[in-house]
Subunit: 615 residues, 2 copies
Amino acid sequence: MSAKVNDDLLTERRKCEFNVEELTNYLDGGAQATQNRRKLEDKVLSTKGLFDEVPEEYLSHKEKYENAVRKAVVYYKAMKEAEDPNQTEQERANATYRSLLHAAVFKDNSPFSLHLAMFIPAILGQADEEQKKYWMKRASKMEIIGTYAQTELGHGTFIRGLETTATYDPKTEEFVLHSPTLTAYKWWPGSLAHTANYCVVMAHLYINGKSCGIQPFIVQFRDEETHQPLPGIKLGEIGAKLGFNTVNNGFLGFDQHRIPRNRMLMKNAQVLKDGTFKRSPNSKLTYGTMVYVRVVIVNGMANQLARAVTIAVRYSAVRRQSELKPDAGEPQILDYVTQQHKLFIGIASSHAFTLTAKWLTRMYQKVTADLEKGNLDELPELHAIACCLKAVTTTDTSVLVERSRTSCGGHGYMLSSNLPQIYGLVTAACTYEGENTVLMLQTARSLVKALEQAQSGKRLSPTMSYLSEKVSSRLKWDNSIDGIVKGFRRVAYGKVESAMRSMRKYVRSGLGPEDAWNMSSVQLVAASEYTSISEADIRQLQDTYEDLLGKIRPNAVGLVDAFDFRDQILNSTLGAYDGRVYERLMEEALKSPLNAEPVNQSFHKYLKPFMQGKL
Amino acid sequence: MSAKVNDDLLTERRKCEFNVEELTNYLDGGAQATQNRRKLEDKVLSTKGLFDEVPEEYLSHKEKYENAVRKAVVYYKAMKEAEDPNQTEQERANATYRSLLHAAVFKDNSPFSLHLAMFIPAILGQADEEQKKYWMKRASKMEIIGTYAQTELGHGTFIRGLETTATYDPKTEEFVLHSPTLTAYKWWPGSLAHTANYCVVMAHLYINGKSCGIQPFIVQFRDEETHQPLPGIKLGEIGAKLGFNTVNNGFLGFDQHRIPRNRMLMKNAQVLKDGTFKRSPNSKLTYGTMVYVRVVIVNGMANQLARAVTIAVRYSAVRRQSELKPDAGEPQILDYVTQQHKLFIGIASSHAFTLTAKWLTRMYQKVTADLEKGNLDELPELHAIACCLKAVTTTDTSVLVERSRTSCGGHGYMLSSNLPQIYGLVTAACTYEGENTVLMLQTARSLVKALEQAQSGKRLSPTMSYLSEKVSSRLKWDNSIDGIVKGFRRVAYGKVESAMRSMRKYVRSGLGPEDAWNMSSVQLVAASEYTSISEADIRQLQDTYEDLLGKIRPNAVGLVDAFDFRDQILNSTLGAYDGRVYERLMEEALKSPLNAEPVNQSFHKYLKPFMQGKL
């Protein structure tokens, strides 16, 4: 921020009508939290060896991984050293979370991320007290590096379809893990290929030939000294992907691999020495880890969208192009209403998702605390909401990040803008941890059930209660915020009701309920609009909308500045605080190894003989 | 296709209700054309050295480029040798085009593509007869490799804003090319960085201090023997991008670089020795190359969408997942109506775009033939249509390719599926050769103009004539194809009329026409719906839609098989004809260089000391 700031950005910041620092504090959770976060950033970002010499995008696939392991180690230690012992764990978590420091280090992601985000939470959620004590001691010090292996080559979201078997052998008191088919191979887990040496494996438990459902097992698969795969283990990486290439996603197959009985995580279901199976007291309890990860995802989407929108808005304030009026000079592209339309929805959504993520996190903390006391009442609602918000925020974020990227024209296509990489990260979230169409249909199921309950006079949970409100089917249009909220409720109600009506019609026509559900599922996922809005109403809304775009315009840069992302965290030629867009584009281009020599060897080897007709 | 075919795909092909080969012939332009294309494919695809040993995605940025140059040379020669001298040029072009052979060789694209798609067309369209003779002789033999440099770091679609200057010096009869600022650097042209040695440069011509508009110049910028950049030339590559990384996009700056007078392409405007400037007889003539490239793009979108949809539909026939009914086994995911909804729109659009591209190509050929005879009447309509179809097909293709990708779940995220790469190629087309929002607004301008003409009783061109039809504002809904077409026309008419009304309102309120245009531009680009469709109509449409999905279902695989893409052209683990999806995923994964060693060196270097607390 010391360099000269672009004049247009200076003007934007002068025009801003609100106190940016106040909004930053609000997003952080108070002025003290902002200070804590900035202190943490100062400390960590001054660590040596944390950044790339050659930008990652120029390395080979293998080099990218090796470089990421190097940085992951440096980063982990830097974070440990920066820990403030005077802060509570919650304060530390907030600062870490909001700072998005890992994004400064990994344009992609860390090969340790699964250890922290899945392995440890799985132990905390699924291990019994003795197991937890033993494994957490090793995992928290990173004596071992773990991951979480659920998805298989042939099965993802449909967990019951998993093919990996764990057969209990009471003679030796061991489980025998086995991959009976190619499609049974574990496929996708991050860190699995060459980084981790332990993992939690979800496998279908059989005792005396009887299915006992999908259960979690902790499995060592590499030697701790040599890192060689253990006997009975087939292991490798799954290959290059659209993103997450430094995360080291792997595959894992078992050939009758034996593990001791105490490696099944037994907080919920248990297998006794003699092979007696004790079912989990409550099936809802297995939701735990899944819900936690979805809460993390919703927070992540809010942050990634905020980054993308910050980059695009700042670039749009700097970029001047075309003409609005003859001889008036080229305007900032942010002055085009079409550009405002593209970006301001992104600004609004990034703030809305940030607040939603906070709300969901608080709800999660409350329900988890209740769980400790044995109160499971709100778990189903938390599950439904986390499931729905995961699907909605990942879908919307993907669209809005991509819109931010294309709103930057050709320069948004450059990897140095960081927008393609952010898209790679967020679009993956539409698929992992529950494919969005499946989750949307789960949400639809909850909604249909709730509507049926409402129609039979039952009381609904707070987040569903709008389905039992008496809404007149011909709502009079009202252009206030309250009116718009009512309009949305009417549309939501109409969609659910219409899909239900359609299902009932199919059932009357002789279809079974499952086929009727399938036939109506397009309506359940997306849907046409159910509102009695008129052309005149639309015109009025359009006017209001155009009016609002104009009100946001002077505050656009302030609204993204408030996210307070440092340049290293945005990691973008287009989005830096000072707006030196073109200088940065050129500086980054010059880092390409192809620019180290004026003539590439391929000229002498292929081009010259070819052009001279000698090849 | 010799290997065993997946059972589900066999069943799909048996169920198909139409003759697939007939549709293939229709798409090719007759049975003979299909045969020609297949013969060409046989010849070219049997060439040695045309394919990668290590999949491209594992190479470094530099290696990718070098490998692409190697293949480009082999491919160019293979295509030349495969030429059938008995075919007309048009037959050859058709076969080459439909075969999409370059996609078998380059998952990304060729470093020679700009030579063929832009440099040669620019010479043909802009050079005078003498220049054409000289340059085409060299270019067609590839004695020289060329590109086309228009876009600059600071200016893209707004051509008048280009900053590169060409100042005529009558004393030496030379033009002096200069880049006065950093933003004046040419930025983006493919092949420019290390491949080409000549290019057509668009620069702002000045004679005696007077502006003479943007003109084309042919410029040598590398020595033909040594390939070193010439004096006064600053050259390099622009760095890594979301796609097109083997295309070798470059930057180019001029420091008072002199070229002879005859290097300005003078088919249209001319500069005489003494500095006299002769304006182009008709400004429409400069449209030529631009329109040609947009026709190519529309064809390309049809093909790329067809590839993506072929991959996704075949995968959806092979993939089985979840349950529709208890204990009925896992259905093909193609049986889920939500999946049909995602993919069948893609199937329909890929066929519709293929036919649209053929229609546009014929229109282009007719207008070009008319031009030769001096008849320019239909040029503006061709320009408007090409402009609109470029924007519409690239926008829709991007959305539909991405939908195809996500419809394949996690496996669509693998680069071995080829879906991410196809997306990288098509989304770029939303920006290059005219940014889509700008083109949509140009289309809107044509529509508003046409509506005004219609309202003042003038006759409209055939493609606009629906704007002068008397449409009743309360169209009665009619669920036939004709009725749906009428419905769309009504909506289109309504959108244009409403945007115009909104503009007029802004003008009345005191805004200048440009500001009014800007304020209304969101409506002009996207828009709310203008139709009097009722809830009951929507329900009926929904029923028809669900019914149609069911009719397409048995023919889905046949409809994509008809595109007749060979496995090498699809280049996808998920889309091959035989449906061996999982086997291919594993085979491709094993090609990752990371899988060559069971333990990566980063374990010894970083992980082990870190895990043992020694780092």
